[in-house]
């Protein structure tokens, strides 16, 4: 059998698009060795397992939620549906889940799979946790106390209609019987100076300051006046953002002892726990059905 014919025959089977019964006679002939037929299933199982693994780790809470709301078969069907719509394309396994939040939103609109209404937002939230955790390093971030004020390269702001942070942090792992409350917020994702993943609900002032830093607007009293806050409150919050690693660069000399005593973002931001952080990093590997990933 020529390679092109082999791949045309076995390819759809490995990708979950044709059945074992269709594939075996096309590949081995009508009198196929039963042992060959049986062992061929191993490869189909491995390939399907890798598709599942590509989403299981990055979207661990989505998976737990779907299983809790229905069953594991529903989750597996959703994953297969995803890869039919958005085929694998990247050598880094987890990267292939990029469009999963979109697929979930589409399936919610079609009211298929019996998905909970917040699942698309949860998928988006988990994707951005992973994106932030793995984002490429920036030399500029390493010079945290030098140069003009600038926003850390890992910072991402995402709007959500559900209070996912409170919900995720209040539940025990796996206990997702409750639902997140409807509460619109903007979540700030970033990596701190120890490279830990963090996320918190961003305040209006946080966002104004980030905008000012992006536009190189000086932290002057005029800015505070424009924002309707005291200059010391502006500087305290700016210092909190700097300490948290959200903003880098030389802070203006006007920061006073009073502003330095503020607790800062560390008190209300969440450092993602190690199990979560490691769960989002599924290694891809592939010797015989396992991912070589660590």
């Amino acid at each position: 059998m020529r390679l092109a014919a082999l791949f045309d025959t076995i390819g759809p089977y490995l990708l979950g698009l044709s059945s074992h019964e269709e594939t075996v006679p096309s590949l081995f002939g009508a009198a196929a060795d039963p042992q060959h037929a049986k062992r061929l299933r191993i490869y189909e199982r491995f390939c399907r397992k890798h598709r599942q693994e590509a989403l299981d780790h990055v979207f661990a809470h989505c998976r737990a939620t779907v299983i809790s709301a229905s069953d594991i078969a529903t989750w597996e069907s959703l994953v297969e549906q995803y890869f039919r719509c958005h085929p694998m394309h990247h050598f880094e396994l987890n990267h292939n889940g990029r469009l999963f939040p979109e697929l979930v939103a589409e399936e919610l609109a079609k009211q298929r799979f019996g998905l909970p209404p917040y699942l698309a937002e949860l998928a988006d939230f988990e994707w951005w946790e992973w994106q932030t955790y793995t984002a490429a390093d920036s030399v500029q971030d390493q010079l945290a106390e030098q140069g003009p004020l600038r926003v850390s390269s890992s910072v991402e702001l995402r709007p959500f209609q559900y209070d996912l942070i409170s919900w995720l942090d209040s539940d025990q792992p796996g206990d997702l019987a409750s639902s997140p409350e409807v509460h619109a917020s903007v979540v700030l994702f970033w990596r701190d100076r120890d490279l830990d993943l963090r996320r918190t609900a961003a305040s209006q002032l946080d966002m104004f300051i980030l905008k000012a830093v992006l536009e190189a607007v000086p932290m002057q009293p005029a800015l505070a006046e424009q924002l309707g806050v005291s200059h010391s409150a502006l500087m305290r919050t700016a210092l909190d953002l700097h300490r948290a690693g959200i903003v880098n660069g030389v802070m203006p000399a006007t920061v006073t002892e009073d502003t330095k005593t503020h607790g800062g973002l560390h008190e209300h931001s969440i450092e993602v726990s190690e199990p979560v952080a490691s769960a989002v990093a599924c290694d891809a590997a592939s010797c015989g059905g396992q991912k070589v990933r660590d």
Binding site: H50, F91, A281, V292
Partner: protein, 291 residues
């Protein structure tokens, strides 16, 4: 001149990477699967950099799909090239298989038919990949649970034909030879004897798993006695310590358990080379110089 890779090493795995940086036990080199590391910044990148600073490191990718029909993945090869540059590695490696089909990565190592067409296809693409990365490529023999139809060669003949058609080295996975010999009923020692061991740049050792009537190359250790015997045979026949690597990819134990396997490999290799003619003559030459 590239950094030397010699002795016995381990595959870098995330669960014990941090511990590796603290161990006082000796290992000679690391092997990194770029797919699992190079796309990451943050803590994982920091860990990789620290490991690469401490140990000689080689790249061992799993996604080249040298036997596939899709164009070779330029982004992957660029990543491998960057990793090779950062580590100053003397070679890099991937598998004789396909891992993409109909334009989609499968993230598995899938068997090719042992045909002349596949030999020339693999040889042409291996040369292309080697040229793109700019460093010598070692091709690894893979396992196969079921032979693909239309074989014109046996497995050893297939490997030899590829090595005859392209200027690449062989990464000989000793465990894979054992697994295939059991699954397909041949003598693994005679198989090794048919290979051009002077072309072998690295060896792999690993555990595996018996599932029903078939052995799966799971890289779950420990390495079993028949594989150690085959390793000893390979080293003795080669007459040199080919750089050897312990792979442990699932159910990963504490680092010390993996390093125990590494020490076992060292002692098996030493035993294989003890009284070997090539080593005896080297010892005599050494004594002569001393006088």
């Amino acid at each position: 001149m590239a950094r030397l890779i010699s002795g016995i090493g381990v595959g870098l795995r995330r669960p014990f990477a941090a511990e590796l940086l603290k161990t006082k036990r000796h290992l000679d080199f690391l092997e990194v699967t770029p797919e699992n590391w190079v796309m990451y910044g943050g803590q994982r990148r920091s860990l990789l950099s620290a490991c690469m600073d401490r140990f000689p490191t080689v790249s061992h990718s799993v996604s080249l799909s040298v036997g596939g029909l899709e164009p070779l993945d330029t982004a992957l090869m660029d990543s491998v090239a960057t990793l090779c540059e950062q580590t100053d590695a003397p070679f890099w490696s991937d598998h004789i298989c396909y891992s993409s089909v109909l334009g989609q990565p499968t993230h598995d190592l899938l068997p090719l038919p042992f045909t002349h067409e596949a030999v020339h296809h693999v040889a042409r693409r291996a040369a292309q990949a080697q040229s793109h990365v700019g460093r010598p490529l070692l091709l690894e023999n893979a396992t196969y649970c079921v032979p693909m139809p239309g074989a014109e060669l046996d497995e050893a003949g297939f490997l030899c034909a590829i090595l005859g058609a392209v200027d690449c080295g062989l990464l000989l996975d000793v465990n894979n030879v054992y697994v295939n010999s059991r699954n397909h009923g041949y003598d693994p020692f005679l198989f090794i004897d048919r290979l051009p061991l002077d072309r072998v740049g690295q060896l792999h050792l690993a555990g595996h798993t018996l599932v029903d009537d078939v052995i799966i190359d799971t890289h779950i250790g420990p390495i079993i006695e028949p594989v150690w015997a085959l390793y000893q045979h390979t080293i003795r026949r080669a007459g040199r310590l080919i750089p050897s690597l312990i792979e442990w990819d699932q159910e990963i134990p504490a680092l010390d358990v993996v390093l125990d396997e590494l020490e076992r490999a060292r002692s098996v290799a030493d035993a294989a080379l003890m009284n070997h003619p090539s080593h005896r003559s080297r010892s005599m030459e050494h004594r002569k110089v001393e006088r």
